[in-house]
């Protein structure tokens, strides 16, 4: 499953589409950036409610491929700017983190 396949797995809008499409290594759900920084694997998709600039900085440090912002939270322009600079895809979904993670997990593990 590639980054570009995310919209076919869960209802979401592409908020930042300047990224290099590649296979996802897995996913990570978390709202504590310190957790994400310490535990997320490279090329994974992050499922979170944290929609701010530091989310992208932490995603870049961890080498994450994409961020899915849940609950339809508004994504500030400075977060999108940072994501564009870093080539991190950003999607926004109305789903909660449990639902979004469940659908991504199923697709990543061939259970969709």
């Amino acid at each position: 499953m590639n980054i570009g396949d995310i919209p076919s797995v869960l209802p979401c809008a592409l908020a930042q589409g300047s990224y290099e499409d590649r296979p996802l290594s897995g996913g990570f759900a978390g709202d504590l950036l310190s957790d994400v920084m310490g535990k997320a694997k490279a090329d994974a998709v992050l499922v979170t409610v944290q929609a701010h600039r530091n989310t992208i900085a932490v995603a870049s440090l961890a080498g994450l491929a994409a961020v899915v912002v849940c609950h339809g939270r508004p994504v500030p322009e400075e977060m999108l700017d940072a994501a564009r600079d870093e080539g991190v895809a950003v999607f926004v979904t109305d789903l909660d983190p449990f639902e979004a993670s469940g659908r991504l997990w199923a697709a990543l593990n061939g259970r969709a």
Binding site: L33, S34, M37, G38, Q50, A51, A57, S60
Partner: protein, 242 residues
Amino acid sequence: MRVLCDLHNHSCLSPCGSLELSPRVLAERAAALGLGLVALTDHNSALNCPAFAENARRAGLAALYGAEATTSEEVHVLCLFGRVEEALGFGRFLAEHAPPFPHDARLFGDQAVVDADENVLELVEERWLVAALDLDFGGLCAAAASRGALVVPAHVDRSANGAFAQLGFLPEASYDAVEALGPLDAERALGRRVITGSDAHHPEQVGRRAFALDLEEGWMFADGSVDLEALRRALGRAGPGR
């Protein structure tokens, strides 16, 4: 006397803070705006407080020194002291509880320690200062209070790093007042005085959310430092043992 206060301001030490907002600019702008009491609260560090103290003195401004600490739940809490040495000591305590996440200035921004005249003394590179400490909300508040700090949970109603968003509610702990962006019921503030803070990261943000406080005579000591007990009384808090 009524004093315009602003207890939440960053400087160029905070990676998210503008390099233009030196402790000198903070003190000068605050004084020019008519503020009477201003705090420097960089993320998890007090290293720019000596420079701020010197500039506050030059500008005739009463000052508080401290840090905006990040708890393990990523709640931000202002910890304020009357004297620079106390703030620096507390900063060393925070550093002992900081994770070893390396800093990447390209991603997060520079963390500049400067002197009173804006010369860069050091760029902090061994850690990202904003990262969560290994102290939870109650533990951090207690640790700060036990060192005599005036403790204020920051922007409790903000979607990022506020107590309501991170914890779901504001737990009871050792704090003296509550900083909020919007109006807050006394009930949600657990009976604490609700104050505003500028949370300035850029020079033009200094003073944007100052608040007025009625302070009794003698709220400053002879050496010019602020009597935190007088401040607590003005905020409606009792003394030690509260």
